[in-house]
């Protein structure tokens, strides 16, 4: 009888330990309700917002200093590939809550500048976007308005950054992971700038308006 009770306890301990190991939710990312509106003709609209300068994490700096390198103490190698600009931001929903982190790269090849985004939302997965940039970059647009690095400016500028490859000059949604793995669609990227400080840091918002459908 003693041996039976000992073995019974051992089995309970072994199976209970293994069951706990697999049933406990070791990673549980908190998530907010997604602010998605469904279109009558199909597709889901969702807006992501970045507030400048407070949401900046990293900026490799654009030629001409607009926008400027951030953080100021970041060390970049002198032999960086030309024509590449890297940015990372905290990402908000339309209500202003921080819900993820976004990375944006631009690269110029054969006179065409392509921009790509990864929007990483821990509770939902990552969403991958890319678009062709207009022929003039942000620095060009600002320079055209007489703005340059080292000069403070206040005002209002709206810059549409998407110029294809999807219809109506929108960018392309290319899926992602988890919730977004089978999402396709289009998006618009809009910069609404309200100022630049003397160090070349921009003030304003970046809006990403996505329209996605599930790829069957």
């Amino acid at each position: 009888m003693s041996r039976f009770v000992l073995i019974l306890g051992l089995l309970f301990g072994l199976l209970g330990g293994l069951a706990a190991a697999t049933m406990v939710e070791w990673v549980d990312h908190p998530r907010l309700r997604a602010h998605v509106s469904v279109q009558p003709n199909g597709g889901a609209l969702e807006q992501f917002v970045i507030r400048l300068p407070r949401d900046r994490i990293f900026d490799s700096g654009a030629p001409g200093g607009l926008p400027a390198r951030f953080p100021a103490d970041v060390e970049l190698p002198s032999n960086l590939p030309a024509g590449v600009h890297i940015e990372q931001f905290k990402l908000r929903d339309r209500e202003g809550e921080v819900i993820g982190v976004a990375a944006r790269h631009t690269q110029t090849l054969a006179a065409t500048t392509t921009a790509a985004w990864v929007l990483y939302l821990p509770g939902r997965g990552s969403l991958m976007l890319h678009h062709v940039e207009p022929s003039s970059g942000i620095a060009d647009e600002l320079n055209r308005r007489g703005l340059s690095a080292g000069t403070a400016w206040n005002g209002e500028v709206r810059l549409q950054r998407t110029a294809g490859p999807a219809v109506e000059g929108r960018g392309q949604v290319s899926g992602g992971s988890f919730e977004f793995a089978r999402h396709t669609g289009s998006y618009a990227e809009t910069w609404r700038l309200t100022g630049i400080d003397t160090e070349g840091q921009l003030r304003g918002t970046i809006e990403l308006d996505t329209l996605t459908v599930l790829d069957e």
Partner: protein, 230 residues
């Protein structure tokens, strides 16, 4: 009372046995075979945790991992606290910078000590000089590295030094490789794979890994690239 005590002793022994099963669990061990790379175009990319390779490294402040540079914003907000964000310079075998990468990741909800291991889910944005840009979705099982290096160093409270290689490939492709999707240039539209191997040489229980390098192979089928380039 005697039987209750015996049951409790059995329960404790069973719990210890389950811990041993989890420690030596073959389901969460490193796969003995690395993913097979497809035929076509391939490129070897190398980066590390050194400041000259990783100018940006940030997280929620609770991880055993250094942040860089000193003034980098922490990911302190509730929803992004589990995340790690980094910028990496990618080098070829000669050490020349041939590309850049942003890596965003977090521990995955698929983490399960019995069936999958400690899973980290990352999405990469890669810019390869002269070739174009690509996305990569990568799932890695870090349990073998935690078990061999980090947990022993943390338990002993002593720095670890050595030279171990791990290929923690865990998907999302069926062969365990990361899923690669070309965006622009010669990579536009191509679907391929990315396989990363970690080389760990130093771990300090106070600051985390101090010697860590990645060797990644990016592979794309030739035919798809040729079609995309036409």
């Amino acid at each position: 009372m005697k039987y209750f005590m015996l049951f409790v002793v059995g329960l404790l022994l069973g719990a210890l046995l389950s811990a041993a099963v989890l420690w030596f669990n073959p389901l969460t061990a490193e796969s003995p075979t690395a993913p097979v790379l497809g035929h076509g175009i391939s490129a070897e990319l190398h980066t590390s945790l050194r400041s000259e390779d990783a100018p940006l490294l940030t997280h929620g402040g609770e991880r055993l991992l250094l942040t860089r540079p000193a003034s980098v914003p922490e990911l302190w907000e509730d929803l992004i606290r589990p995340m790690i964000a980094s910028v990496q310079w990618l080098r070829d075998a000669e050490g020349t910078v041939i590309g850049t990468a942003s890596r965003l990741g977090a521990y995955s909800r698929q983490t399960d000590p019995l069936r999958t291991g400690v899973i980290v889910e990352s999405t990469w944005l890669l810019s390869v000089d002269g070739a174009g840009m690509a996305f990569a979705v990568q799932r890695e099982n870090l349990w073998p590295m935690l078990k061999e290096v980090m947990l022993p160093a943390l338990l002993r409270r002593e720095p670890w030094q050595g030279d171990l290689h791990f290929t923690p490939a865990a998907g999302p492709r069926p062969d365990g490789a990361a899923q690669l999707l070309g965006i622009s240039g010669r990579l536009a539209g191509a679907e391929g794979q990315l396989v990363s191997t970690y080389r760990i040489s130093a771990f300090d229980p106070r600051v985390g890994p101090t010697g860590l390098e990645w060797y990644s192979v990016l592979s794309l089928p030739q035919a798809e690239v040729a079609v995309a380039g036409e």
